[in-house]
Structure formats: C-alpha cells, structure tokens
C-alpha cells in the first residue's frame, strides 16, 4: 500500500479518531476537547487539500478492504466526491468553531462533539464510497451519529423530533437496503462506474425490476434529501441546537441524501440508461414539485429555523432536478448547487443561531430592527438570503443559471417556470425578514438578551457566518476562477456526458 492508497482512509480517520477520544473525555476537559476538535478539522482540511491537488493533476486515490467474499469496502476520490468532501471539510471546521462557542455552557459536550465528529466521518465516507455497499454502510452510520445530536437538548420536543427522524431514516435505510440487495442479485456488482453506470448491459427483461430498484434507491435517499413526501422529519428536527441544524442542512444529512441521488443516476444507472428507462422524467417532476411545495410551506412559518428548514426542502431538490433533467449543463447546475446551497444555508443557520443565542430571537415576528443591533450577523444573513433567491452575483444565481440554460438545452422549458416560481416564492419568504430586520424600529427589550459588551455577539459566533457568507459571495463572483465549484462541476459533467 502506498500513500495514494492510504490517503482516503486517513481522511476518514482524521475526524473519527478525535471523535472517539472525545467520547472518553470528562466534561470539564474543555481545552483538550477544543484542541482535538480543531486539530481533527484542520488535519482533515489539509489532507483533503492534498487530495484535491492530486486529483486535479490526474492522480488516483483508492483504498480497497475486504468486507465479505465478493464485497469490498471501497474508498475512492473522484471529482464528484472531492467536491462534496471539500465542502464538508471546510464547513466542518467553521461549524466546529461555531459549536464550541455556541455550547459553551451546555451539558454533555463530550457526547455532543464525539457524535459531531462521527457524523462528519460518516459524511466523508459517503462521499468517498466507491461502491453502493460502502455508501450504504456510511449512510447508516450517519443516521446513527446524527440521532443523538437531534435529541441533544433532552427535552420532550427533542425526543419526539428524534423519534420522527429515526422512523423516517430507518424506513429510508430499509428501502435502500432492499434496492441494493436486489440490484446485487441482478448484476453481481455494486461498484460505481462513473462513466455511464454499470447497468446498461442488462437485458430488457429486467427493465421493470430496474425501474422498481431505481424507485427504491431514490426513495431511500429521498428521505434524507427531504424529497416530498418524505420530508416530514426535517422541520421537526429544527429543535436541535443551531450547529446541528447547520450540520444537517449544509454539511451532512440532507446533502448525503442528495449526493446519493446523484450517485444513483450517474454512477449506478448512468444518465443515458436512466433516461432510456424513463425514470429521470418522474424524478424531475418530483423534484420540481418539492421545490415549489417547500417554498410555499416556508411562506407560512413564523419560526425562523422552520422557515429555513422548508427552504432547504425546496433548495436541495434543485440538485435532484439538475441531475434528472439529464443534460450536461443542467448537471453542472445541480452539482454546483450541492456546494452553493451548503454555503448559503449554513450562513443562514449560523445567523439564526446567533439571533437565538444573543437576543433570544426564535421567531421572525421578533426580528424587528435586529439589523441595527447585530449588523454583521444580519449582513451575512442578507447575503445568504439573496443567494437563495438567486440574486446575482451570489452563488445561487450561478446554480439557477446553469439549471435554466441546461433545461433549455434539452428542450424542457417548463423548468424555467419552476425556477421563476421558486425564486418568486423565495423572495416572498426571505425579503419580509430582511425588511423587518433592517427597516423596522427595534423593540425596547429583546426576548432574552446576553451581554457581550460593545460587541454584537461573541467573536467565535460571528466569525463563521461572515466567512461562509464571503465564500457564498466569492463562489458567485469568482465562478470562472480555477478550483471554483463551477470548474469542478464542469469537470464532473464532462466526465459523465463526454466519454473518451
């Protein structure tokens, strides 16, 4: 085994090892826990940077470990997986900084950070998985690692949200398992094949089975991706602390589901074969429906985090839509939205957390004049919100641009109506928040104000949303720069659609 073989394992271990050590730490070992958390996050970022550079220059990183006869645990770094792990690694670092400050005085921090690290480990495993069985293993580990985070507060509401989360995800996992086993029995392999999938050689007599398998796999991933009608757990899970919400929506769970859908369409079925089977059309319509449905539901939420949750339901479906449109340009749109949505949504959740932690604001109706009290936080929120609407030149605009032109390319003009409708609804539920925050007079007293002296809030709480907001802005303005998400998206689409 050489360095290129070990590197994928090291990337996974870099968060798992600190996580396991943190579990064993006593509650008062704050400094050691912080060092371990940050050390793990920085090391992972460094290793991912190394891998990114290597793959960009044509190196191959792959690890194979025997699980069972005929079944291997495969970790492989390709352009698509690297996009996801780069996003996760960067956001894990900022989320860790944020979480350390956010949970400063709360109990059970060792448990929290232990599962937090395991959660990222599972996400990285999902991203690097080179076959469906590896994907499934890490995907289920993700379910188990996030459940304690959802119920972290220990309240009755949190417990109910956790139960709902488990019910949905176990159901999704079961569907996924059935689909995977059925697929294995048909093909005898589960290895991802990046250029066209591994099913195109299968005889026509199995096509009905393959359609059912596709439905099972999409439903399995659709639970975490919060596709309608499997989205019910997500708004309930908002009872979790803000860093967990950020993790669920931007880094790990929802993204893992969306990433799974991308993998199924591209690397299991292959775009061409999936289109021939006629399964991409219904997926596109389901995604379109979820986009509008999520936005409509978001309109009626007064709880800020719930509104953001419904917004996620809507926005994540852009990824599925981009993939299902089945054209190279739309594919770029869908894939880059994986990164763009992560940057924008994590900004919004950090800001929501800041408002809750600093002023005790949980509801939109309590946000009057908050921009004057917390200008930096609300500036970051404004960038995130405008990005979600698709205002130029923020990252969301670039995603929508590629989705729109991609839809025109393959003659699916109806997608433009969906995009326009979604943007309009996004404006309808985000702009009133900004109006309240910036243009209304603040109340005499905030619901539950913490004193941070002359600062608007604690520095470690303020730094992460500003960084992610700047990244969201940069991903849009510098879209054509080397190593931008757009460039990686183009590499992935090229690999999928223009075969050598």
């Amino acid at each position: 085994m050489n360095w290129n073989t070990w590197l994928p394992v090291l990337v996974v271990i870099s968060s798992m090892l600190p996580g396991l050590i943190i579990f064993g730490l006593a509650e008062h070992r704050v400094r050691l826990r912080t060092i371990l958390n940050l050390f793990g996050a920085v090391v992972k970022l460094f290793l991912v940077g190394w891998m990114l550079w290597g793959v960009y220059h044509g190196q191959h990183f792959e690890t194979r470990l025997m699980l069972l006869p005929g079944l291997e645990l495969v970790l492989r770094a390709g352009p698509l997986s690297l996009m996801f792990i780069t996003l996760s690694s960067i956001l894990w670092l900022v989320t860790t900084i944020y979480a350390i400050a956010y949970l400063e005085d709360s109990p059970n921090r060792s448990r929290f950070f232990g599962f937090f690290s395991l959660c990222v480990t599972a996400t990285i495993g999902v991203a690097l998985a080179g076959n469906l069985i590896t994907f499934l293993l890490f995907y289920e580990l993700l379910t188990l690692a996030t459940y304690p985070l959802v119920v972290h507060r220990g309240t009755e509401e949190a417990r109910r949200a956790g139960q709902s989360y488990l019910r949905y995800t176990i159901f999704g996992g079961a569907l996924l398992l059935i689909g995977t086993v059925w697929l294995y029995s048909l093909t005898g392999t589960l290895e991802f094949a990046p250029q066209g999938g591994f099913l195109s050689e299968i005889g026509a007599e199995h096509h009905t089975s393959l359609i059912i398998i596709f439905a099972l796999l999409i439903a399995g991933f659709g639970v975490k991706a919060a596709l309608f009608p499997l989205h019910g757990w997500l708004p309930k899970a908002m009872v979790a602390p803000a860093p967990v919400s950020a993790l669920l929506h931007a880094v790990a769970v929802v993204k893992a589901g969306a990433f799974g859908i991308v993998r199924v369409v591209y690397d299991v079925f292959g775009v061409e074969f999936a289109t021939d089977l006629g399964v991409t059309g219904p997926l596109a319509w389901l995604a379109a429906f979820t986009i509008i449905y999520g936005s409509l539901r978001a309109l009626f939420q007064d709880d800020l985090k719930r509104r953001l949750a419904y917004s996620t339901i809507s926005q994540v479906s852009y990824i599925a839509l981009g993939v299902a449109i089945a054209g190279p340009i739309a594919a770029i749109g869908g894939i880059i939205h994986l990164v763009h949505q992560g940057l924008m949504k994590i900004t919004l959740f950090f800001c929501a957390g800041n408002l809750a932690e600093t002023l005790g604001i949980h509801k939109i109706s309590e946000m009057n004049g908050v921009g004057k009290r917390m200008p930096w936080t609300m500036a970051a929120f404004t960038i995130g919100a405008f990005g979600m609407i698709g205002a130029p030149p923020i990252a969301g605009f670039v995603s929508k641009w590629y989705l729109g032109t991609g839809a025109l390319e393959v003659g699916q003009g109806w997608v433009l109506i969906v995009l326009a409708g979604s943007s309009l609804l996004n404006a309808a539920y985000f702009l009133p928040i900004l109006h309240r925050a910036w243009f209304r007079d603040p109340p005499n007293n905030w619901p539950h104000e913490h004193d941070f002296g002359r600062k608007e809030t604690a520095w470690p709480l303020l730094f992460p949303p500003i960084v992610t907001a700047v990244l969201a802005l940069a991903a849009g303005i510098l879209a054509s720069a080397p190593f931008s998400p757009l460039e990686w998206g183009q590499i992935v689409a090229q690999r999928e659609f223009y075969k050598p």
């Binding site: 032109t405 109806w414 702009l431 510098l478 879209a479």
Partner: protein, 425 residues
C-alpha cells in the same frame, strides 16, 4: 497610464463605492458620499475607449467605456454629486445616518456598474444591486407614502429581475457570449419574441412605465425626499438605457410586437397628459406625470424602432442624448420644485381671481375628477356585488376546507400550478 490601467479604473469606479458601503469603513471617512464618486469622475476624464475583461469573474464579465457611454457616465456622476450635496445639507437627520449612507453607496456602485457594463450579465448584476439599494434609500426615510412606494417598487423589481433572468437564460442558450455587440444581433436572428417581451416588460417595470408606474407616482407624493426624488430619475434612466442595449434594434423587424409597444407608449402619454391636466395643483405630482409622459415617449420610440428597423438606424443616435437631457431636466425640475411641494388646494376665492383660461382648465379638471369618481363608485358597487357572490360560494367551500387543512390546500395549489406549467410547456 496605459489602457490596462484605465481598465482597472473602470472596476475601481464600481468596487470603491461598494467597499465604502461597509459602515465600519465609511463612518471613519469625511464626506464618504463624495469620496465614493471620485473614481467615476476620473474615468469620465480619461481619454479614449477602453475596457477590462477579467476571465475569472462570473461569466467573464466586462466593463467598458466608449464615447456614447461617457456622456451617460458624466450625467450619472453629476446626478450623484447633486444627490450627495442635497443630502449633506438635508435637515433630515435620518438621511445622513450610517445605514442611509450604506444604501446611498450601494445604489451608487450599482449605477456606475450598470453604466459601465459591457455585457448582459454585468448589467443585470449591477442593475439588481442598484434596484435593491434604491429600495433601501426609498424606505429609509419611511413615512406612509414612501413605504407604499417602496413596496410597489420592490415587487416591480422582483418581477422585473425574474423576467430579465428568463431573458438572460434565453440569450445564454442562443449565444456563446453575452456581450452587447453579440446578443441583440443573434436574438434578432432567432426572432425570439419571448426574449423581446421579457426584456421589455422587465425594464418597463424597473422604469415605472405605465401601467407599472404606481411606485413612481407614490414616491413623488412624499414630502422631504429631495435625494430620493433626485435619484428616482436614475433607475428610470438606467432601465431605458437597458432596454436600448438589450433589445435587437435595427437588426430585423418585429412588426407586431413593435406596434404593440408603440401603442402602449402612446397610451402612457395620453394617460400622463390627462393626469397632468387634472393634477395641476401639486407641482411635484406634475413632475411624476412629466416623467411618465417622457417614458411613454421613449416607449413609443422603442416600439417604432422595433417595427421599422431601418428608421431606427437613421434616428438611433438621438436616443442617448434624449436620456441625458431627460434626466438632467428632471433633476433640475426636482431641485426647483421639491422644497415647495406643499402647495395648498385652490380655494373658491382663489378660483374667482384666476384668469378665464385657468378657470376653464380647472373646470375641466373638476369634470374629469367627478366623472372618474363616479366611475370609481360604480365599479366599487359592482365589486361589492361580486364579493358577495364569492362569499356565498365560500360558504359552500367551508366544510371542504376544514377537512383538508392548510397543507392540503397548498398541495392542491401546487398541483394546479404544476399542471398549468405542464400545459404551458
């Protein structure tokens, strides 16, 4: 300095006010509103035509300046200098606070970018920034009237941006580049009426062209808004400029669309003239109607140009000076009238002292008002009837609504929307 350095100055003219918009920066500087305009002034003074394309910027956008645009930029700089001066001497404390300065500088940056943009994407980005910045300025000195104006403006802006985005997508699909030199030509070849209408309606909403003029009128009604009134000319001018640069004039004939647009412009002019005749008492409102009249005239010209491309080629060079003269006149008139806006309604005693001509005008005004009022009352009665009829229908709907709840209704709405989308596709 060489052309590249000149090109860098183009970006500085946009980025400098954008950076200064950060409150922590501008609050440390004296006269930030003046300082922010300096790079743009320098650009107007630099000789020759030059541009700068940055390959790693979004869609490789480009800023450029040529002889024509130099006039527009000079006009823009003048307006912003006047606006900065008027706010500096404003008695209204709110208009000078940090947030107001932020919005002032954001709008300024957006405006400079819109003028200097050399492609559709850059124009769209900066016009959006300008639009939201202007909304911030409108709502900053918020009384009931400005609040209403800002709200109208915001919805117009959102709808306009959506339409322009759709137009951009069509242009992006048809073209390899999005430069102003390429797009109108290729879009004319593609004979894309959809593109034409999306662009036209988008900019009509941004410019407050009739019948999307509500925000403009309401903004003119509000008192103590000298800077905002000054600057309301800027979005109008930029939208007109945008329509001119985005649409395929002189390339091929769009007869039907052109005639429709021409008629719309004429109706807008007629409407403005009627309003003008019936609202002689408020000088500031007169300015609003003059603005609508002039934009109507512009729309008529656009329609004519689209219908008869050869005529457009002959007369197009008058259009840019028209925009410059219009905005300069509007600015001057606003400056003169803004402080004397509180003109009382004419009393019966004053009526007697008026000349015969004036009396006749006022009589016509009253007659039109009465007619209009009666029409409004009769239409209101019919509305009440309609509303009552719907109330009866709603009574039968109630049990159904109770059983399906909000989420069900939303779902049905979504199904309906998607069915329509499918039918449309």
């Amino acid at each position: 300095m060489n052309v590249t350095t000149f090109g860098i100055m183009l970006w500085v003219a946009v980025i400098f006010p954008l950076l200064l918009a950060i409150p922590a920066l501008h609050s440390r500087l004296p006269w930030p509103r003046y300082i922010a305009i300096i790079p743009a002034i320098i650009v107007t003074l630099l000789p020759g035509e030059f541009f700068l394309a940055l390959p790693w910027i979004i869609f490789e956008s480009e800023l450029a300046i040529n002889g024509e645009m130099r006039w527009i930029l000079t006009m823009t700089v003048m307006i912003w200098l006047i606006a900065a001066t008027s706010t500096a001497f404003s008695k209204n404390d709110i208009s000078n606070d940090r947030t107001a300065t932020t919005f002032f500088l954001l709008t300024l940056a957006g405006n400079m970018g819109t003028v200097l943009a050399n492609d559709l994407v850059a124009f769209f980005c900066f016009s959006t920034l300008m639009g939201y910045g202007f909304y911030g300025m409108l709502i900053q000195n918020s009384n009931a009237e400005t609040h209403r104006a800002a709200r109208y403006y915001l919805w117009c802006l959102i709808a306009a941006d959506l339409l322009l985005f759709e137009a951009l997508l069509l242009a992006g699909f048809e073209n390899n580049g999005l430069h102003f030199e390429i797009v109108p030509t290729t879009m004319a070849e593609a004979s894309s009426s959809l593109y034409l209408w999306a662009v036209f309606i988008g900019f009509a909403l941004k410019a407050g062209i009739w019948p999307a003029h509500l925000w403009l009128c309401t903004a003119f009604k509000s008192p103590n808004l000298l800077p905002v009134l000054l600057l309301s000319g800027v979005p109008v001018a930029m939208a007109l400029l945008g329509a001119k640069r985005w649409l395929p004039f002189g390339e091929s004939a769009f007869f039907d669309s052109g005639i429709l647009i021409l008629m719309l412009g004429m109706v807008a002019m007629l409407y403005a003239l009627l309003k003008f005749a019936t609202h002689l008492s408020s000088k500031l409102m007169l300015l609003a109607w003059i603005t609508i009249l002039m934009t109507g005239l512009f729309v008529t010209a656009l329609g004519y140009g689209l219908a008869y491309p050869s005529e457009w080629v002959r007369y197009q060079h008058y259009l840019q000076p028209f925009i410059v003269i219009f905005v300069v006149c509007l600015t001057t008139a606003t400056l003169i009238f803004a402080r004397s806006h509180a003109v009382p309604q004419i009393s019966s005693l004053e009526l007697q002292s008026k000349s015969k001509l004036n009396l006749n005008i006022i009589k016509i005004q009253h007659w039109v008002n009465n007619k209009y009022l009666q029409l409004k009352l009769s239409s209101r009665t019919s509305w009440v009837k309609t509303a009552k009829r719907y109330q009866r229908i709603l009574f039968w709907q109630k049990p159904f609504e109770l059983t399906i709840g909000w989420s069900g209704r939303i779902t049905m709405l979504v199904v309906l929307g998607l069915s329509l989308a499918w039918l449309a596709s």
